[in-house]
């Protein structure tokens, strides 16, 4: 066999398109199996709708419908009342990977990379060959714009199959409807996802029709949108070399000092001068003229100088009152609900914030059968994780939030727990992390990466909420004991009344009534009398001594 020359190799070597790469690595985007694929499609569309509505200041109304059109092929329709997308943008939003508005800015949002919905288009065409159909209505246009498209895996560009304006009034004033057809398998996780989404987005109204035609409504629990989060300039602690270099090239600032104060958050002229001093770089050097070695020195200095923490108005937590309302709406039978919104903290220069919700003692309809309230359960609590209001449905055990829950000593809060595991009991535990940049373990965004600051804050939040739970549980325990105590007295009352009637020759009914009244009047009184009862009769050891004195038979 002839040897290949370098030239021949060169003919074979070519750029791999991103689309081709993802086609071969579907799992990296979360399409590992048919069940997950179906959920991913719903999730990407719903997340986008929520982001769009929130940014446009519209209270979201989202409709999700799943139809099983044949065997393992499903049609998923998601519509919203968002602002819609102008016709020029539609193809790229739905038909080009890594296209989006959210990647290049630091602001809390559900989507981050601009991969999500276009990857669904890609997955749909790979599994069924069907195009993704989009209807869009923007307020300024009279007609609904309709597009059918594929994603060209070689060029990573949209292939438009059909495009037209239609008169038919299928959307309100504004909004988007997207229809995707793909191979999938239907599981209840879709409904769980929507339910959890409704918890973390209490201002959203979601209606859902499952493949068997069952309709389900997730109403709003609050009527107001959260305050829109601000876009944040990067914080010096969170910048990497490449980013810094790009910023230096693009800046309009003329000196290093002004570059630092203008382009970064929390950097005043004091800190800027300090950075220059530590880096041993003149503060009036022109940013565009800095060489690689200088940039490195500056970067190092930026991360060693003490700088104020970043501003936190770029975060949009659910809010403890809102989360509580939302949880009470979703679990109306819960005995006890408590929520905590922690103060923001920072990891690697990115502000983040943790919220905790505890729902205890819910009575749930399981298979139409009501669970008994007192039924002992050894099942682990249900952990509901959110990142920027998005439910994290998979990879629970790989997630830093889960680790934090396991590290907490739940026994302190009157919960059962085998050490190092999730606690057990009738409880749902909500953990929400929001950040301008949530560090995920992978692109499928299912598990939060383990940063010590994130674990620490999560634990502190759980401990705050745990203390409230603990005081509720010990109160409940006391009340339970009180109830049992009174039951004992009530049980003996008739016997006592009869005996007293015999001893005093009075009518037992009247004694019994007085006794029962007395018991009722003592509901809040504990056994406050000394317990000398145990001394009344000879103790066990003494009895043994006495027994020994009996002669053998």
């Amino acid at each position: 066999m002839a040897k290949k020359t370098a030239e021949e190799f060169a003919k074979e070597q070519k750029a791999i398109s991103i689309s081709e790469f993802f086609e071969k690595n579907k799992h990296l985007l979360g399409f590992d199996n048919p069940t997950k694929a179906l959920l991913m499609a719903v999730k990407e569309a719903v997340d986008n709708s929520l982001d769009a509505c929130e940014e446009a200041g519209i209270l979201p109304e989202i409709t999700v419908k799943i139809k099983n059109i044949k065997e393992d092929v499903f049609e998923i329709t998601v519509s919203d009342n968002g602002p819609g997308i102008v016709k020029e943008q539609i193809p790229r939003v739905f038909g080009k990977l890594l296209y989006g508005s959210k990647f290049h800015r630091l602001r809390q949002s559900r989507g981050q990379q601009g991969i999500g919905i276009s990857s669904v288009t890609l997955y749909s065409q790979l599994t069924t060959g069907e195009p993704t159909c989009i209807w869009s209505k923007v307020e300024s246009q009279k007609k609904v714009h309709y597009v059918e498209l594929h994603l060209n895996t070689v060029t990573n560009e949209p292939d438009i199959l059909k495009e037209e304006d239609i008169e038919k009034d299928i959307l309100d004033e504004h909004g988007i409807r997207v229809l995707m057809t793909l191979h999938g398998r239907y599981r209840k996780t879709v409904e769980d996802y929507l339910k959890q989404t409704s918890i973390s987005n209490p201002f959203a109204k979601i209606s859902y029709t499952s493949p068997d035609g069952t309709k389900k409504m997730f109403p709003r629990s609050i009527e107001e949108l959260p305050k829109p989060p601000k876009i944040m300039k990067p914080h010096p602690y969170g910048v990497e070399f490449g980013t810094l270099q790009r910023m230096l090239q693009k800046t309009s600032s003329r000196t290093l000092q002004s570059f630092l104060t203008n382009e970064f958050s929390s950097v005043g002229s004091q800190s800027a001068k300090e950075i220059c001093k530590v880096a041993k770089v003149a503060d009036d050097v022109k940013p565009v003229e800095m060489d690689r070695a200088t940039v490195e020195k500056v970067l190092k200095a930026m991360q060693s100088v003490k700088i104020q923490r970043p501003p936190v108005d770029c975060l949009s937590p659910i809010g403890d009152a809102e989360l509580e309302k939302s949880l009470k709406k979703e679990y109306p039978n819960a005995e006890f609900v408590t929520t905590i919104t922690r103060e923001p903290d920072v990891y690697r220069g990115f502000p983040f914030l943790v919220e905790i919700g505890i729902v205890y003692g819910f009575v749930e309809e399981a298979n139409g059968k009501k669970k008994e309230e007192d039924e002992e359960t050894n099942e682990s609590v249900e952990l509901i994780r959110f990142a920027n209001r998005v439910p994290l449905m998979y990879q629970q055990s790989a997630c830093a939030l889960t680790d934090a829950v396991k590290q907490v000593d739940w026994k302190r809060y009157n919960m059962d727990q085998k050490s190092g595991t999730l606690p057990s009991g009738p409880m749902k535990l909500v953990v929400h992390i929001c950040s301008v940049w949530v560090p995920f373990v992978s692109e499928s965004k299912e598990a939060v990466a383990s940063y010590p600051e994130i674990i620490k804050e999560t634990k502190l939040g759980i401990q705050d909420a745990g203390r409230k739970l603990s005081s509720y549980l010990s109160g409940k325990r006391r009340a339970g004991e009180q109830k049992r105590r009174l039951q004992i007295f009530d049980r003996y009352a008739p016997e006592i009344a009869n005996a007293l009637a015999m001893l005093t020759k009075t009518e037992h009914k009247s004694i019994e009534k007085k006794l029962k009244d007395l018991i009722a009047s003592r509901i809040h009184i504990k056994d406050d009398v000394e317990d000398s009862e145990s001394e009344l009769q000879p103790k066990q050891e003494e009895k043994k001594v006495l027994a020994k004195t009996q002669p053998k038979k």
């Binding site: 105590r485 004992i488 007295f489 049980r491 003996y492 008739p494 016997e495 006592i496 009869n498 005996a499 007293l500 015999m502 001893l503 005093t504 020759k505 009075t506 004694i511 007085k514 006794l515 007395l518 009047s521 003592r522 009184i525 056994d527 009398v529 317990d531 000398s532 009862e533 145990s534 001394e535 009344l536 009769q537 000879p538 103790k539 003494e542 009895k543 001594v545 006495l546 020994k548 004195t549 009996q550 002669p551 053998k552 038979k553």
Partner: protein
């Protein structure tokens, strides 16, 4: 014509005590207080040795059993059940055994799966609680136990309307009932009372007509004496001034039986003054007797537990203050032997009644 007998007088007093208990609790209920029964504590911590009377008696520590205390509530209820049961017995002038009472009161409480009493071992101590709380005897509550103990002698008594002559009961003797309070003595012709620990010893002496020859009353207790037997001994001592001699095995158990007759027991310390006989003396068998009467071959080697028990007895207040007893018990420990009263038969079947006992009595060879 209604004659106020001793029996009815007792009954009225006890009935009154029971009624007072009920009225006190009803009053507490009406005053919205925590109903309770005050009961003297019967644990060792409250049992004292009264040096004046040489008896074990209860100290003055009491405890209250409250209705509104989860730990007490059931016993409170049980105490009232027992009290009301006793009252109904007295009202109807009938007696019941403590086992009858247990079965009569045992039932499942309405709307629950809990029983008023689960075992007789629950109801028995409650009876004693009522006794000490009201300062009455179980016999006065018309509660009886099994008959235990036999008696023979030149005595005529009246029991529930029948005259009984203890000298004319053939081979059996009279079984001592659990209640002897109400027994009336009509004729007592005896110089002393001889209490024998074992029924076999009683049979031997009865057959030998020992009580006739020695002019005594012979009582066999069949082991630890019952309350009835103790009360009978006490009454004969108290009412007829008869000396009481106790004849037991030579071992720690025998000594303890003597101490129970003499000073009372820990578990019945509350009734010591009514059923103990402080004047009782220990006749035998002693370790010294074993050597004196050459019974060495009929002894049994003392086991570890016998020695241990004997050492405990040395510490008992009523033995520790007595040098003679200290000497005897120490001798027994030293020799490491014990002897049953039947050991005397080693010297011939009639040795006990014809040699040993007359000898001891004549020499007044007793331990106090």
């Amino acid at each position: 014509m209604m004659i106020m007998t001793q029996e009815t007088r007792h009954a009225n007093e006890v009935r009154k005590e029971l009624e007072k208990l009920g009225e006190k609790i009803v009053a507490e209920i009406e005053k919205k207080e925590n109903p309770n029964i005050e009961i003297p504590i019967r644990a060792l911590s409250n049992v004292v040795f009264d040096k004046k009377s040489n008896q074990l008696t209860l100290g003055d520590k009491t405890a209250k059993r409250y209705f509104f205390n989860v730990a007490h509530s059931k016993k409170f209820m049980q105490s009232l059940l027992v009290a009301s049961f006793a009252k109904s017995l007295i009202d109807e002038n009938i007696h019941a055994s403590i086992r009858d009472m247990y079965y009569n009161l045992k039932r499942t409480i309405d709307d629950s799966n809990e029983n008023t009493f689960d075992e007789q071992s629950e109801s028995d101590p409650i009876i004693v609680d009522i006794e000490v709380a009201l300062d009455v005897l179980r016999e006065q509550l018309h509660l009886t136990t099994d008959r235990k103990g036999i008696v023979a002698g030149n005595v005529i008594i009246r029991d529930r309307g029948d005259d009984i002559d203890w000298s004319r009961l053939g081979s059996g003797g009279w079984s001592i009932p659990s209640t002897v309070e109400e027994v009336e003595f009509k004729k007592v012709d005896a110089k002393f009372v001889l209490v024998v620990e074992k029924n076999a010893g009683f049979e031997r002496l009865h057959e030998d007509k020992f009580w006739q020859k020695q002019k005594c009353i012979l009582i066999g207790t069949g082991g630890q004496p019952s309350r009835g037997a103790r009360l009978l001994i006490q009454r004969l001592n108290d009412e007829y001034d008869l000396p009481v001699y106790v004849f037991c095995d030579n071992d720690a158990y025998g000594y303890y039986i003597y101490s129970v007759i003499k000073s009372g027991s820990i578990s019945l310390a509350h009734v010591s003054d009514r059923i103990a006989t402080p004047e009782a003396k220990f006749l035998g068998l002693t370790t010294s007797d074993v050597f004196k009467y050459d019974l060495k071959k009929a002894t049994i080697k003392a086991k570890e537990v016998d020695i241990k028990r004997a050492k405990e007895l040395l510490e008992y207040e009523w033995f520790s203050k007595n040098p003679k007893w200290q000497k005897e018990i120490n001798l027994m420990i030293e020799k490491g032997v014990k002897a049953e009263i039947e050991a005397l038969s080693h010297k011939g079947l009639k040795f006990m009644s014809e040699v040993y006992l007359p000898d001891k009595l004549k020499n007044k060879d007793f331990l106090d």
